[in-house]
Symmetry: C2
Subunit: 316 residues, 2 copies
């Protein structure tokens, strides 16, 4: 059993925002953003309590340790490892709540990565995923690894098995990602509940063909092919209802030169891919304009796909 | 409009047997075998008639030009191009009838490739596919390109769009393919009719994950990964009923070291992949033994995945 190293006072870790599904890979594809993400600091306490001292930039999130994904997973892992240790947790949210940008996953992952830094025998990536899943179950009622995996592995990931966890790091295309967060809240739970539990064989074939060609496009570095196939015919049509103006924003993105655009995770955030940064800016403006017509304000990020997984940023 | 060159008397073309679906890519993946296939010879006639003079090794096939895929597509293309020309057609079948090895496609494709050799302006691959589809419609009532495409493009192919036709030649793994043809006839039509027209979302996700990982495995040349993911959870369970002993033969193949095994196309033929030729032989023997227990005799081929597309073998 691992034990706590005795020379560390406090560790801060960063975990990136993530985009799950990526249009063609519902529940199996995801990628990490660069820079956008959550920071979590774990500071050792004299007693064996776990508490949240501050949450920055997300007033709606609970300080109750049983309700926040970061503290919840730290409690769980300390119990499982029978560690007599306490932490004060500081959370600096860079990811909006219920945005479809993997915020609940990032807080849990950042906490776990910081925690892992205290251990003399660190846990594996697969173990970290397993614990982060408890956080997802807390946040949305369902333990889906689609945001956790790109958060912990970095880059663009394919989960080809959940039990046991099997992950492939796919080639990361040299492109820019536009991320638009409309100021609407869509709970992951609601977005999942409305999904039909059957798919027509015809749609399965079409979506599979797009997915397979997208994987080939990544390896071939073929952005023209990517543009042809980065289309979600299965899930997006069912979730478009949650965002007024979704299709107008998507069409505007494609007209402005996007290689593809769809929901980030279960939405309401949307992503679009662009070859060049200036094209990404034009796409972002076009999408925000369409949302604005529906009286929806939005935040905007432009980022490369982040090669870096969640990682420690400071040890004191 | 193309016209017939005036210095050619007769052309023979070869078209390979093909395996459609490849476990994880129903209706979209397929590959060509090496050597196994049909030969079709087109010989110019003085009149403008099209006739079949001989069909070798397949007594059950009709000599009626309206019922054979080879003559049917030649009639059609001559009409469309308004060519006043006649051909005697000789067909040498290397592919058993109704075996799931793409026999109807191969005869049509070989005829079209031979015909194309007579033209001063040859038709494109996509045009050849379009005409070969008329043959598939004749043979099975449905115009599916899943055997035609690997037959015309060679290697391992992904059809990512049918209208317009868009094909990717995937990396061909350096492996051996076992092909077992149980002496049972399963019509493509029957094998398609029994398929459920809906797929559960859960199964769609699982099959998609396997497909995506299979594509990654091809590019990564990762045979261990291929072995983990080359599994059909959607279609195979519905078609296993057509071949008594199917699962026993499949399990025997996997125990003998196969990287994966499933139906070739709609069956009854089965394919299995092997790293080495001697392993392929052991797999083949194990599969044939299981079928024999069910009183089913079978033919056997061991082949690499054929890089070569259908092609002309003789011009006189």
């Amino acid at each position: 059993m691992p034990t706590i190293k005795n020379n560390i006072h406090s560790i801060t870790a960063f975990a990136p925002a993530t985009c799950a599904n990526v249009a063609v890979g519902f529940d199996i594809l995801g990628f990490a953003f660069e820079e956008v993400g959550d920071y979590v600091t774990l500071t050792l306490r004299e007693d064996n309590m776990i508490s949240i001292t501050t949450i920055t930039s997300a007033e709606s999130l609970p300080l109750d340790v049983d309700k926040n994904t970061a503290s919840f997973v730290i409690q769980r892992i300390c119990e499982d490892l029978a560690l007599k240790v306490g932490f004060s947790i500081q959370i600096q949210k860079g990811i909006p709540v219920s945005s479809g940008m993997g915020g609940s996953a990032a807080s849990a992952v950042a906490a776990l990565v910081a925690f892992n830094g205290f251990l003399d025998e660190p846990l594996s990536q697969a173990e970290l995923v397993r614990y982060a899943l408890f956080g997802e179950e807390l946040a949305s009622g369902q333990a889906h690894p689609d945001n956790i995996v790109p958060c912990i592995y970095g880059g663009l990931t394919l989960i080809h098995s959940t039990v046991p966890l099997e992950v492939i790091n796919l080639p990361v295309p040299n492109i820019f990602c536009v991320l638009i967060h409309p100021h609407l809240q869509v709970s992951t739970n609601d977005a999942r509940k409305i999904l039909q539990d059957k798919v027509s064989l015809k749609d399965h074939i079409k979506q599979s063909a797009n997915l397979a060609a997208f994987i080939a496009a990544l390896y071939e570095k073929n952005l023209e092919l990517m543009k042809k196939v980065l289309t979600d015919i299965l899930i997006e049509p069912q979730r478009a209802q949650f965002v007024p103006g979704f299709y107008k924003a998507k069409i505007a993105a494609l007209k402005a030169g996007a290689l593809g655009a769809s929901f980030s995770g279960s939405g309401p955030s949307m992503f679009a891919f662009a070859k060049e940064k200036n094209v990404a800016l034009t796409i972002a403006e076009a999408m925000q304009t369409e949302l604005k017509i529906e009286n929806i304000n939005s935040d905007l990020w432009i980022s490369r796909i982040g090669h870096e997984a969640a990682h420690i940023t400071q040890i004191r």
